[in-house]
């Protein structure tokens, strides 16, 4: 059989990057759709917070709360924090709890009258170790009904991340951005 000249039309697939906005938006929608399927896995994934073999942090955020147990549940269920210690006061309120996540700690307690109770909402930044980990946290947050104040995006300073507000009114910036400690690196 003679060759078919129309075979010359053969067009191999060449990858083509679509609009960045379209790509990011589609990724968010896929994460939202897949969240119910992924959520089960997230509960039992130990690799999210294992690199704690570093020196104890020398700065810790302490968050007095109107309802410490509600805050602890939110941090544990949605962000994968783990409870290191929890001490109750005689009246059953939380006197002190240390929650840890990767290399850092957050102290949570029920607010007491006096100078140590006079705090307001803060912003807490978490540095995940990969885009994939951030995606999983985002899916988990969506699935858990967390208040999202910043949709998943790639910020111009290079962080892949999103923002939440917790039940106490604090803001959480969760992304891949992890600035070093110490003076600015020499360039």
């Amino acid at each position: 059989m003679p060759a078919d000249p129309l075979d010359q039309l053969r067009l191999p697939i060449a990858p083509l990057a679509p609009r960045a906005l379209f790509a990011a938006d589609l990724r968010r929608r896929l994460l939202a759709e897949l969240a119910p399927v992924l959520a089960g896995r997230l509960q039992e994934d130990p690799t999210m917070t294992t690199d704690t073999s570093v020196a104890a942090p020398t700065i810790t955020v302490a968050v007095p709360c109107d309802d410490a147990r509600r805050m602890i549940d939110w941090m544990v269920d949605l962000l994968g924090f783990q409870v290191g210690e929890l001490h109750e006061a005689p009246d059953g309120s939380v006197a002190h709890a240390r929650l840890w996540w990767r290399t850092g700690n957050v102290f949570v307690s029920d607010r007491r009258p006096g100078p140590w109770g006079a705090t307001g909402p803060v912003a807490i930044c978490l540095a995940g170790d990969s885009d994939a980990e951030i995606d999983r946290l985002y899916a988990r947050a969506r699935q858990g009904g967390a208040e999202i104040i910043q949709e998943l995006e790639d910020a111009d300073y290079g962080s892949h991340g999103f923002g939440l507000r917790d039940p106490e009114g604090n803001l959480w910036a969760i992304g891949t951005h992890r600035p070093p400690a110490g003076p600015a690196p020499v360039t």
Binding site: P5, L6, D7, Q8, L9, R10, L11, I13, A14, P15, L16, A17, P18, R19, F22, A23, L26, R27, R29, L30, L31, E33, L34, V37, L38, G40, R41, E44, A132, D135
Partner: protein
């Protein structure tokens, strides 16, 4: 955690991990076949949502780029099928006689021929794209179009004649 849920989780993670590499391939494929970036974006999104549905229903098997292209091709064919339904009210342009010589028997102007593809009717475009741009054997073209083998061969013959008409006369065909 039951086995089914576990399988779905693994497939979901595969899809998410593959997304950055797979997206430009699916989008590039659709752009080159339909020539319209807005349409390519829509079909790309539909392709990935089809993948999500398959993951949730545990019908996807292993998620690969090749599998996503199969899904994308199905979306493309569906689009042309719907377009053909909408175009049905248009009058047919005159067809070439069966024994006319193909203008590309001597020399094929690839650019001009691919541009002519943009102007043939959706059913013909679908058949010619799968057979010649994608290089699928006729049996696979038939499977993709949901038609029998003989019906597809006949469609390809009509599609080639329609392509010849628009190529030579620079008009459009309503097939």
């Amino acid at each position: 955690m039951d086995a089914e849920a576990k399988t779905a989780q693994v497939a979901a993670e595969q899809l998410l991990d593959l997304y950055p590499r797979a997206l430009p391939v699916v989008y590039g494929f659709l752009c080159s076949r339909c020539g319209d970036t807005a349409l390519a974006e829509d079909l790309t999104a539909e392709t990935f949502f089809d993948a999500v549905r398959a993951v949730k229903a545990n019908t996807s098997g292993e998620i690969t780029i090749a599998w996503l292209i199969v899904v994308a091709r199905r979306r493309l064919v569906d689009h042309w099928r719907h377009q053909a339904v909408e175009d049905r009210h248009l009058q047919r342009v005159g067809e070439a006689t069966p024994d006319s010589v193909d203008p590309w028997d001597d020399h094929l102007d690839v650019v001009r021929t691919r541009a002519a593809l943009d102007r043939v009717g959706p059913h013909h475009r679908a058949a010619l794209t799968l057979r010649y741009l994608d290089g699928l054997p006729v049996a696979e073209v038939a499977e993709n179009l949901g038609r029998g083998l003989h019906a597809t061969e006949a469609l390809l013959q009509r599609a080639r004649r329609a392509l010849r008409v628009v190529y030579v006369e620079g008009g459009t065909d309503a097939g």
